[in-house]
Amino acid sequence: MSLATTNSVAEIRARNKELIEEVLKVYPEKTAKRRAKHLNVHQAGKSDCGVKSNIKSIPGVMTIRGCAYAGSKGVVWGPIKDMVHISHGPVGCGQYSWGSRRNYYVGTTGIDSFVTLQFTSDFQEKDIVFGGDKKLDKILDEIQELFPLNNGITIQSECPVGLIGDDIEAVSRAKSKEYGGKTIVPVRCEGFRGVSQSLGHHIANDAVRDWIFGHIEAEGKPKFEPTPYDVAIIGDYNIGGDAWSSRILLEEMGLRVIAQWSGDGSLAELEATPKAKLNILHCYRSMNYISRHMEEKFGIPWCEYNFFGPSKIADSLRRIAGYFDDKIKEGAERVIEKYQPLVDAVIAKYRPRLEGKTVMLYVGGLRPRHVIGAYEDLGMDVIGTGYEFGHNDDYQRTAQHYVKDSTLIYDDVNGYEFERFVEKLQPDLVGSGIKEKYVFQKMSVPFRQMHSWDYSGPYHGYDGFAIFARDMDMAVNSPIWKRTKAPWKEAPSAKLQAAE
C-alpha cells in the first residue's frame, strides 16, 4: 500500500478511500460518523475538497487545534510591536505563547517594543471570586508608569474573564479617557469561544475595526504624504522575517508599503491603513475580515497573493501590478527578471535532489494550500493536505487552484488519523507543527515545521524560496534517515504503536 506501487489516479483514489475507511474503524460509531465528514479524497473539477470544516473538535481525540486566545494574542495582535499585550487571566496562556511564534521586529525591547515580553495579570483565586476589573485598572497604571513609551495596550482575554462577568470594555474606556484618549483595546478572545484559533482571528479583526478604526477620524491626515502606489501588507506575521522578504519585492516594483499587518507592525501603521490604495492579503484566513471591512468602509480593494515559490510569486506580482499603472506593471516584470537567475540556480541545485519526492502537509489556515506551489517548483508532489482551522472558502481555494486529483484531504486531523495516514502513505516529507514533528521523526519520516519554519526562514519571496529549498533538502536528504535501524535489524518502515 505504498505510493511506489500505486501509480494511476484511480488506484491512488481507491487506496486513499480505503485508508479513510480503515481509519474510521477505530472510532465509536457516533464519532466515526462525525469524522467521516472531515476526510475525503479530492476529485478534480469539484469546487471544494468535499470536507466539512470549522466545526467543533471532538473531545478526547487529540485534536491539534488551539483556541481563540491563540488566534488573537498569538497570531493577530501579538506582533504589533509598540503596544503592550496583556494576557489577562491565569499565567499559563501567556507563558506558553511567550516568544514562540518568531514574529520578528526591529525595536528596543522593553522600552519602545514589547513583542517578546510576557505581560500577564496572573489571576489568583481572589481575582476569580471578586472579579479582575480592579486588578486590570491597576495593571494599566503600572504599565503606564514602567513602560511609558508604549503606544497602546490590548487586553487579551483568557477563559475565566468571560465566565466571571468582568467588564473589560468599561475599564478600557475609563482608562483611555484617564490617559487622554490612549488606545486601549479590550479583546474578547476567551479560549472557549468558537472551535479553534479561527474565531480568535475574527474577534481580533473586529477589535481593530471597533477600537482602532472606530476611534480615528476618517478624514484625518496621515503623517506622510500619500502616493498613488501606497499598499498595505495584510496577514503576514513576519515569521523569521517573511514580511521583510516580501516587502522588498513590492518596493522594488515601485509600490510603497505603508503598513504591515501585523508582523513588525505598529499602531501607527494600523491607523494609516485606510489611506492605502490596495490591501494585499497573504493570510486570507486570519485577516479577510478586516480587508472586507476596509473595502466596505473605505473603498479599498484587496487582493490575495502568494509569495511561496517562484511560480506563485510571479503570478502574484503580476496580479498586484494589475491594480496599478504601466509603471508598476513594468516594475513587476523587472523584479521577476531580476530574480530569475537566483530562481534558476536554486532549482538547478535542489530540484534534482527533491524531484518526485512526496509531501504530506497539515498546517493552519493558509499554508496547507499556499506552499504547494513552492514544493512543485522543486519537483515535489503534495499527496495529502488539511487545515487545522480552515473554513469552506479555504477548501474551495485549495480545490480550485492547488491540489491535484486524488489528494488525501483531512480537516482538523487528530494524532491517530495523521499517524495512520503517514504510516500508510509513507511520504518523503511531512510538514506540520511542533506537536507532530517528533512523532514523525521517530517513525523515520523527515519533517519540517511549517508554522515556525523550524526556526529558519524567511520562506516568503525569492530570498525565502532559496531558504525553503535548502531546508526541504536538508530534511529529506539528511543522511540520518538511512541509519535509523540498527544494521542487525530489518529495513525501516514507519510504524506506530498507538492503538495496535
Binding site: 514562540s100 472557549f192 517528533y438 510504524k495
Partner: protein, 518 residues
C-alpha cells in the same frame, strides 16, 4: 542581491545587508517611532535605582514571570505512568500549549488529550465532553489509564470530576474497572509544581484509597521498599535514570513514582512509542506498602507526601539536591532508611566530584551569581554554589512562597558565602532585570528566557532550568548525584572560561591574558 543558491543566507544573515537595512530604515517613517533620544533616556532610566523601586512597587502586573500553570505539571506527572494518557478537561487550546511546551523542551513527542469544551459547555457544564472524550480516547489510544486534570475554564464553572467520571463509566465510555484517577488543577492557584503534586496525589489516592469508592481501600503491609518522587524537573530523563542507578547500586528495592524518564527519551528507529516505560499501575498500587516515600523536591510534593505519611509511611523531602553535601545527605538518608550500606563505588564517585571541585574551585570562588527558577531548583543550586565558595546574590522564584523564602534564608545564613544574598519569592524576571542593573553579578543561572536578561544586562547566562528551548539535549544528562554535580560544575566552569576568553581575545590589546592554560 545578497541571496544565492551556493551560499543560502537565512534570517541570521540575510537582513544585515544594505538592501534590507535601507528598507527597514525607510519603514520607520510609517511607524510613528519615538524619538531615539527619548528611547535612550528611558532605556537608561530603567537601569536606575529609582526605576527598581517603582518596579518592585508593582502590585498587579506580572512581566516575564518564571512559572507556568497547574495542568502542565499534571500532564508531566501523568505521563510517568505505564500507558497513561493525560486527559485535560476544559478548553482545548490549553492542551495544545502543554504539548508544544513540553515538546520544545525535550525535543520529543508529548501526547495528551482535551475534552474540547466550548461555549455550550460553559453554559451547561462539560459532562458530555467528558463522556464522549473518555470513550474516544479509550478506543483510539488504547491506554491502560487515563489521568484527568482540569483547565481553569472547567474550574471556574465548577465541573465535578468525580461525578463526571462516575457518570461516564455508567454510560459505558470506559469499562467500570478502568483506572481514571483525577485531580482538580486550577490554573489560578499555585503553579505547575502544584499541578504535579495534585495529579500525583490524585493517582496514588485512586490506587490506595479504593478507586473513588469502586474498590476496597488497600491495606498497607509495610515492606522494605522506598518510593522516590522526582517532582517537576526539566532534567527528568537524566536525573531519574541516575537516581535509579544509585538505588540499584545500593541494592534498594524501590519504586520511582511518575517515572517519565523513558517517554521523554524514546529512540528514533522507525517506531513512534506514544507510551513508553513509566511506573506500572501495579507498582503504583503496591507503593502503599513501601517503608518510606522520598521526594526530591519538597515544593512539588507537599500534598503527596502528607498523603503518604497519613498512610503510615516515613516521608522525607529534599530540595533538588545538587552537588556534594546535598547528594551526601540523600545517599546517607537512603542508607539509613533502607539499612543498606553505601557501596564503595559511590564513595569513589564522591571522591571524583571532590577532586573536580578542588581542581577548579579557584575559578568559581567569590564569583557572584543570580539564580531564578522553581523553588526547589533555586535551593539546590544555591546550596551547591555555597559549597563551591561562590556567592549567590539574588535568588528569585516566581512560584516560591514565604516558607520557601525562610528556608532559603536559613541556608544562606548557614554559610559565610551566603551573607550578601537576598531572596525574592513571588517576583518575576522584570524584577530580576532591575536587580541585575542595580546590583550586578558575574553570572546568571536560569532557563532559556534568561537570554533576554543576558542581552539587556550583559550578565552571562548559564542555562539550568525549565524550559530550555534554545539548547539541545541537556535534559538527557543528570544534574543529581555526584555525577550530576560534576555536570553542573562543568556547565558553570565552561561559561566562566568562555567569559575570560571573551574579555581577553582582542589582538594586541587584551590578549596578554588570553592564556592557553587555565
Amino acid at each position: 542581491m545578497p541571496q544565492s543558491a551556493e551560499h543560502v543566507l537565512d534570517h541570521v544573515e540575510l537582513f544585515r545587508g544594505p538592501e534590507y537595512q535601507q528598507m527597514l530604515a525607510k519603514k520607520k517613517i510609517f511607524e510613528n517611532p519615538r524619538d531615539p533620544a527619548e528611547v535612550e533616556r528611558i532605556k537608561e532610566w530603567t537601569k536606575t535605582a529609582e526605576y527598581r523601586e517603582k518596579n518592585f512597587a508593582r502590585e498587579a502586573l506580572a512581566v516575564n514571570p518564571a512559572k507556568a500553570c497547574q495542568p502542565l505539571g499534571a500532564v508531566f506527572a501523568s505521563v510517568g505512568f505505564e500507558r497513561t494518557l493525560p486527559f485535560v478537561h476544559g478548553s482545548q487550546g490549553c492542551v495544545a500549549y502543554y504539548r508544544s511546551h513540553l515538546s520544545r523542551h525535550f525535543k520529543e513527542p508529548s501526547s495528551c488529550v482535551s475534552s474540547s469544551m466550548t461555549e455550550d459547555a460553559a453554559v451547561f457544564g462539560g459532562l458530555n465532553n467528558m463522556t464522549d472524550g473518555l470513550a474516544n480516547s479509550y478506543k483510539m489510544y488504547k491506554p491502560k489509564m487515563i489521568a484527568v486534570s482540569t483547565t481553569c475554564m472547567a474550574e471556574v464553572i465548577g465541573d465535578d470530576l468525580n461525578a463526571f467520571i462516575k457518570t461516564s463509566k455508567e454510560k459505558g465510555s470506559v469499562p467500570a474497572d478502568f483506572d481514571v484517577p483525577f485531580a482538580h488543577t486550577p490554573a489560578f492557584v499555585g503553579s505547575h509544581v502544584t499541578g504535579y503534586d495534585n495529579a500525583l496525589k490524585g493517582i496514588l489516592e485512586h490506587f490506595w484509597d479504593g478507586k473513588a469508592g469502586t474498590a476496597p481501600k488497600l491495606e498497607r503491609k509495610p515492606n522494605g521498599a522506598i518510593n522516590i518522587i522526582g517532582g517537576f524537573d526539566g532534567y527528568t530523563v537524566g536525573n531519574l535514570r541516575e537516581i535509579k542507578r544509585i538505588l540499584e547500586l545500593m541494592g534498594i528495592q524501590h519504586t520511582v513514582l511518575a517515572d517519565n524518564s523513558e517517554v521523554f527519551d524514546t529512540p528514533t528507529d522507525g517506531e513512534f512509542r506514544m507510551y513508553d516505560g513509566g511506573t506500572t499501575l501495579k507498582d503504583a498500587a503496591n507503593a502503599i506498602h513501601a517503608k518510606a516515600t522520598i521526594s526530591m523536591q519538597q515544593w512539588c510534593t507537599e500534598k503527596t507526601l502528607s498523603f503518604a505519611a497519613e498512610h503510615g509511611q516515613d516521608v522525607l523531602s529534599f530540595n533538588y539536591p545538587v552537588g556534594l553535601s546535598a547528594t551526601d545527605d540523600f545517599i546517607v538518608a537512603l542508607s539509613r532508611i533502607s539499612g543498606k550500606e553505601i557501596p564503595e563505588q559511590l564513595a569513589r564517585e564522591r571522591g571524583r566530584l571532590v577532586d573536580a571541585i578542588a581542581d577548579s574551585s579557584a575559578h568559581v570562588h567569590g564569583k557572584k551569581f543570580a539564580i531564578y527558577g522553581d523553588p526547589d531548583l533555586c535551593y539546590g543550586l544555591a546550596a551547591f554554589l555555597l559549597e563551591l565558595g561562590a556567592e549567590p546574590t539574588h535568588v528569585l522564584s516566581t512560584n516560591g512562597n514565604k516558607a520557601w523564602q525562610e528556608k532559603m534564608q536559613a541556608l544562606l545564613a548557614s554559610s559565610p558565602f551566603g551573607q550578601g544574598c537576598q531572596v525574592y519569592p513571588g517576583r518575576d524576571l522584570w524584577h530580576m532585570r532591575s536587580l541585575l542593573f542595580t546590583e550586578p553579578v558575574d553570572f546568571l543561572i536560569g532557563n532559556t528566557y534568561g537570554k533576554y536578561l543576558e542581552r539587556d544586562t550583559a550578565t552571562p547566562l548559564i542555562r539550568i532550568g525549565f524550559p530550555i528551548f534554545d539548547r539541545h539535549h541537556h535534559h538527557r544528562s543528570p544534574i543529581w548525584g555526584y555525577q550530576g554535580g560534576l555536570n553542573v560544575l562543568v556547565k558553570i566552569l565552561d561559561k566562566i572560561f568562555d567569559e575570560i576568553d571573551n574579555k581577553t581575545n582582542i589582538l594586541g590589546k587584551t590578549d596578554y591574558s588570553f592564556d592557553i592554560i587555565r
